[in-house]
């Protein structure tokens, strides 16, 4: 039996509460609020207390999908990445950098946001990168 607790930051609102995810044999089984964190001081809201429930939902996307004959169909990572990259390249070549736009995310990490805007600006050559700050 492998039991661990992992301290991390909540994925819901902008409060940024900290808690421990309880992990038993690779399954996230519960959430324990962090008592020493300056934002939540051992408290959580109903969403935070139950944050472990969606993580391993059976509805999670588990494999890449490519639309074939109008239907999203499971594909390998190689196929999906090639499809994405060849599509982006063809559009950049035919219509220029500013014909491509990116929506980055208020849900992913700082590091991921940084990499996506770097990819948009340095690789594709466009500043058309925005996210849902206004929504």
């Amino acid at each position: 039996m492998d039991y661990r607790t992992v301290l991390t930051t909540c994925t819901y609102c902008g409060c940024g509460c900290n808690f421990y995810l309880e992990v038993l044999d690779g399954q996230v089984i519960d959430t324990i609020p962090c008592k020493t964190h300056p934002v939540n001081e051992g408290k959580l809201c109903i969403k935070g207390w139950n944050v472990h429930e969606f993580i391993q939902s059976p509805k999670r996307l588990k494999r890449p999908l490519i639309r074939r004959d109008g239907v999203l169909t499971e594909a390998t990572w190689d196929e999906a990445l090639d499809y994405t990259v060849s599509g982006l390249k063809a559009i950049k070549d035919a219509h220029g950098s500013d014909s491509i736009a990116f929506l980055t995310s208020a849900k992913v990490t700082n590091e991921e946001n940084y990499l996506l805007q770097k990819f948009a600006r340095a690789a594709v050559g466009t500043n058309s990168v925005d996210h849902c700050a206004r929504l």
Binding site: R4, V6, L7, T8, T9, C13, G14, G16, L21, V23, V28, T36, P38, V39, K43, I46, K47, N50, I55, S57, K59, R60, L61, K62, R63, P64, L65, A75, A80, L81, Y83, T84, G87, L88, K89, I91, D98, S99, A101, L103, T104, S105, K107, T109, N110, E111, E112, Y114, L115, L116, Q117, R121, A122, A123, N127, S128, V129, D130, H131, R134
Partner: protein, 527 residues
């Protein structure tokens, strides 16, 4: 936020406007409850009666979109009665003359007519806030999601400066950000006009700095915002859209327009953890991971950068988003070779002055609040101490402008939207959480009892709601939380998608859509 969450509990006055705090930011509400217990006066201004109204010393329900008028009315009273902080205004600000001249046009009696708030209440609000030693303003999307969003925020800044409630502990102008890392996405340059750390893309020395660091030629042309991307897709100037962890089909105003735009894309790439309504339209879907399956950092609403730590392996064949982006970039021909998110943070710190002193090692424990410019800097609990970023604080004269859409004979009801306590945004996560799903399973429309009588509907009856953009059906929740003539809907539920109705008209500067105000008609739905 100019100040920190923990400081709110020591304020003498908390002024909450356009924030359903206990529902949307419960752990900020906790601090307001504590402030109340310690003797603070609480002011709530919201078009609806919300839970936190119940502990307020004064609560007003102003008409949708009349925030500027209400705030100007409060400031009119403060200036007329000499309750403003003269020394702060003289030493720390400029533009007071022109500003106070403009405010003369907003006597409480006139503001009462515009806002529907009793003139006596306006005077009481002014007195409580202005006479507090430390007054903290707390606001949320009820302030920003308007065609006058920027004006609303500037009016709040005027109010804080007028009373000297900025640059000190337990004061400030404090927006509560709705998403865990919306602050970080902005900080990291997830915006069309700035690189990380809000460094403008159209300034030559900044461009040169990033060209050198990234070894690439960069564009000095400001990019497209979300609404401009959608317009671009519709008119053919945008051909490809790559979406990471967003669900615009449900989160953006005027869903029919959004769908049409996304359908026009030659290439729609969606990277997400669930097959959202937006992912269902994609040409290719890349399965990313949740926060529990990767390392990294989030930056919260008080600018606190905190660690995210991997707890489990990625679900199925999904991959951490940073690895997916790196792989796409490498295949595209632009090399990225980061061994870990920590390596990415080292590069961020080297290029982003406000994150200059941030390392994973230093984030252990409580994290760090930016600005944190160097390795010995302790971080910044509250901003604008002694001086504003621009030097002196500038008063902006702001005139009241009505919302883009107002009620008329055909569409006689005001509609506003928001969140409920058990769900989060487009609910892709919370509706997949059995406990939260059990709390609230479907959308609803809050209707005042008199309006329900007029429509001939009872609690739970279905009504059709129609705006100039579309029609949806929802069950009624008959309640006096809303005033007569006003209806409210949460936007979490795709089956009764409130954003089919909302107005995409947006603020000219911030381009934020007017989610909080549109005009609708209601009809009893056929059985």
């Amino acid at each position: 936020m100019t100040n920190s969450i923990s400081e709110i509990e020591d304020a003498d006055c908390v002024f909450i406007i356009g924030s359903n705090t206990s529902s949307s930011h419960p752990l900020v509400a906790t601090r307001i409850f504590r402030a109340k217990k310690k003797g603070a006066r609480i002011i709530v201004a919201d078009p609806r009666t919300i839970q936190i109204s119940s502990l307020a010393d004064i609560t007003v329900r102003h008409k949708l979109g009349t925030d500027v008028a209400l705030l100007n009315g409060i400031m009119h009273v403060i200036i007329q009665r000499g309750w403003h902080n003269v020394s702060f205004v003289e030493e720390r600000t400029e533009g007071f003359e022109a500003f106070s001249k403009g405010i003369e046009n907003y006597p409480p009696e006139k503001v009462a007519e515009i806002t529907g708030v009793d003139a006596g209440d306006i005077v009481r609000m002014a007195e409580i806030y202005a006479k507090a030693e430390t007054g903290s303003i707390v606001y949320c999307m009820g302030i920003t999601q308007h065609t006058t969003g920027v004006d609303n925020v500037k009016a709040l800044a005027n109010l804080a400066m007028l009373t000297g409630n900025v640059g000190r502990e337990s004061t400030g102008v404090n927006p509560l950000r709705g998403q865990n890392n919306v602050q970080g996405a902005c900080d990291m340059g997830g915006l069309p006009n700035v690189y990380p750390g809000y460094q403008p893309v159209n300034m030559m020395d900044i461009q040169k700095k990033f060209e050198k660091a990234w070894n690439a030629a960069l564009s000095d042309k400001v990019g497209r915002t979300v609404p401009q991307m959608l317009t671009g897709l519709t008119d053919g100037s945008v051909k490809a859209l790559y979406i990471v962890g967003e669900n615009p089909i449900q989160s953006d105003p005027d869903t029919h327009h959004v769908k049409k735009a996304l359908a026009a894309a030659e290439l729609l790439v969606v990277q997400d953890i669930f097959l959202t309504p937006t992912a269902e339209m994609a040409h290719v879907v890349l399965p990313g991971t949740s926060f529990a399956e990767k390392d990294g950092t989030f930056s919260n609403t008080e600018r606190r950068v905190m660690r995210v730590r991997q707890a489990i392996d990625p679900v199925g064949d999904s991959r951490p988003d940073w690895q997916i982006i790196q792989e796409v970039s490498n295949r595209f021909g632009y090399g990225m070779d980061y061994s870990s998110p920590e390596a990415v943070m080292r590069e961020i710190a080297s290029l982003t002055p406000s994150y200059g002193g941030i390392t994973y090692e230093r984030l252990e424990g409580e994290g760090l609040q930016w600005p944190c410019p160097h390795a010995d800097h302790p971080g910044t609990r509250f901003l604008h101490e002694g001086m504003f970023s621009r030097g002196k604080g500038l008063f902006h004269p702001i005139e009241y402008r009505p919302p883009a859409e107002t009620v008329d004979e055909e569409f006689p009801y005001w509609l506003t939207t928001g969140r409920v306590f058990a769900h989060y945004h487009t609910a892709t996560m919370t509706r997949n959480s059995p406990t939260l799903d059990a709390e609230i399973r479907e959308g609803y429309l809050e209707v005042h009892p008199d309006d329900a009588d007029r429509l001939g509907v009872l609690q739970g009856d279905a009504v059709t709601v129609t705006s100039r953009r579309g029609t949806i059906t929802a069950k009624t929740a008959v309640t006096d939380r809303v005033q007569q003539g006003l209806v409210f809907m949460p936007f979490h539920f795709i089956e009764s998608n409130a954003n089919v109705l909302t107005n995409p008209a947006h603020d000219p500067v911030a381009q934020i859509p007017e989610f909080k105000v549109c005009a609708v008609k209601l009809e009893k739905a056929p059985l």
